[in-house]
Symmetry: C2
């Protein structure tokens, strides 16, 4: 008899829920999704959360057992009080999402962590980081984020917000970041930051997909833009590795697929740190997760409880 | 009856050993020091290590017990094989310092860790970070280094080299670092980097002490130089806190005392990150350790075994 986790992924554009088994597979017919978005009211967000969690819960096969609810949320969060304040959902500030899930799914433990931790756990469980105990799971997309597993255990930090690799600064980059930093890798190397830079150099496209097409067609500006992004990501990973002695970084997210060459540029930037072998050693690989990654990660908060952060 | 740790601190300019009790106090008459230095041969370094460790061991009061030998070493090290390769001691590459200590002090456990971890443990034990479980112990001197305690446990990393805050890059800074990085905080903000920058602006002094005197006298270049150093240190701490959700940073080292204002500049740089309260929250304080700090930290590897890193 299967043992299920009810996985919930809350992001800036959608909330999803599904039942996931102990091997990391989603139960067909149990996955439900509704849009969120910065224009949503708190009541709309709450109704959406109740709807998708309730629908996934109702999909539990009769007689089978639910081990727990795992929620991976966009940050910041308050992990001790179970509150979420996703940067891109201004209607939710200190919203009690854990309590909501406890109400919709009675008599079941609910675990809330930041989405970056969920991603890192998923990479270690069923993704590209199997077997590693010292890794960064990273997403390069509209924003840049991540989660850490150090010494075999995810790191939440005292407020639950560890893993914000997107706000590690990049040497030599003067771009101001919305967070108050200078040259944060998110402000330099995200999809929107990179296409904006390319346009400023005279490139005529608009989206990350356009940039991927221009790159594939040999456009010189597109090449420079992707190289700039990869170099910045590599520099941020090198800083993180100097600090944490990381073994492996698995990178997913839409913009990470702009070109396979992106990974070459990332690795070149890290290889420049060869005087410190413990920095240059870090391996950078594409994510091993499908688009179900965030949900699998939320399920890992339950099925891989030994690896999730202690708070 | 006292229980002693034999503490050993290996640095680029000296090796020291002493007996330290369970309250973090050095036994008078048990502290021995010899110079090291980049020009030393391996045989000279080895003779020095045997001499200071042997002398401290011989100071053990008759009938009292030695719990273990704790060694804090300049990095890099190989924590698994017990080897040291201090950057500033080129004659020692993969030198088996742990085995040497095991030979000089028979039948006693020997624990080797990087000096940054020892410093962090000392700050948490008897210094400025008592009560914190999420901290960076940092040294700003000829170089910039540090050690991390995360979730109540020091972090060694898989090769034992975690904590290299000096090689975290600083946004906007183009200074090349010997490690291959760009704008590493050590290359921007260490004592020598800061005095070199001041001289390039026309300042006539030479040492960090000169710079402290010029700053105290109101010299405009000295002020700009100290501000630049503090700002860079603050930016590096902000990046580390975005990644690790740190609560507290305790900073020691000779150049950290160039002016009390240095800490103001550090805090101003961090305060710019106010859009992320979990970053802006990190407190930065002067080290609570005396010049015995590295030795106390090496002793903490024995007396505070529950906090030292698992490797």
């Amino acid at each position: 008899m299967a043992q299920w986790a009810l996985a919930v992924d809350l992001g800036g554009t959608k909330i999803e829920a599904a039942l996931v088994d102990a091997a990391g597979a989603v139960l067909p017919g149990s996955r439900f999704r509704l849009p969120t978005g910065g224009g949503s009211s708190s009541a709309e967000l709450e109704a959406g959360a109740r709807a998708v969690i309730g629908a996934a819960y109702a999909a539990l096969p009769p007689g089978e057992s639910l081990l727990g609810v795992g929620i991976g949320s966009a940050g910041p969060i308050d992990v001790h009080r179970g509150l979420v304040s996703p940067l891109n959902l201004p209607a939710w500030r200190d919203f009690p999402l854990r309590a909501l899930a406890e109400e919709v799914v009675p008599a079941t433990p609910v675990v809330l962590r930041i989405d970056g931790e969920a991603i890192a756990l998923a990479e270690q469980w069923v993704g590209a980081a199997r077997g590693s105990d010292n890794l960064l799971g990273m997403v390069v997309s509209t924003g840049i984020g991540g989660g850490l597993i150090l010494g075999g255990r995810a790191l939440a930090g005292p407020t639950g917000n560890a893993g914000h690799i997107g706000h590690v600064e990049v040497g030599g980059m003067n771009v101001p970041c919305l967070c108050g930093g200078t040259g944060c890798v998110e402000a330099v190397a995200s999809g929107p930051a990179t296409t904006a830079w390319a346009r400023a150099q005279g490139w005529a496209g608009s989206t990350g997909e356009d940039l991927a097409a221009s790159y594939a067609a040999g456009d010189a500006i597109a090449r420079a833009a992707v190289q700039r992004s990869g170099t910045a990501v590599g520099q941020a990973i090198a800083s993180a590795t100097a600090l944490l002695d990381l073994e492996l970084v698995a990178i997913g997210g839409g913009f990470s697929r702009v070109s396979p060459d992106l990974f070459g540029f990332i690795r070149e930037a890290i290889a420049r740190r060869s005087p410190f072998p413990f920095v240059a050693k870090v391996r950078v690989v594409p994510s091993g997760l499908s688009d179900e990654g965030p949900l699998i990660g939320a399920a890992a908060l339950i099925h891989r409880a030994d690896y999730r952060s202690e708070v």
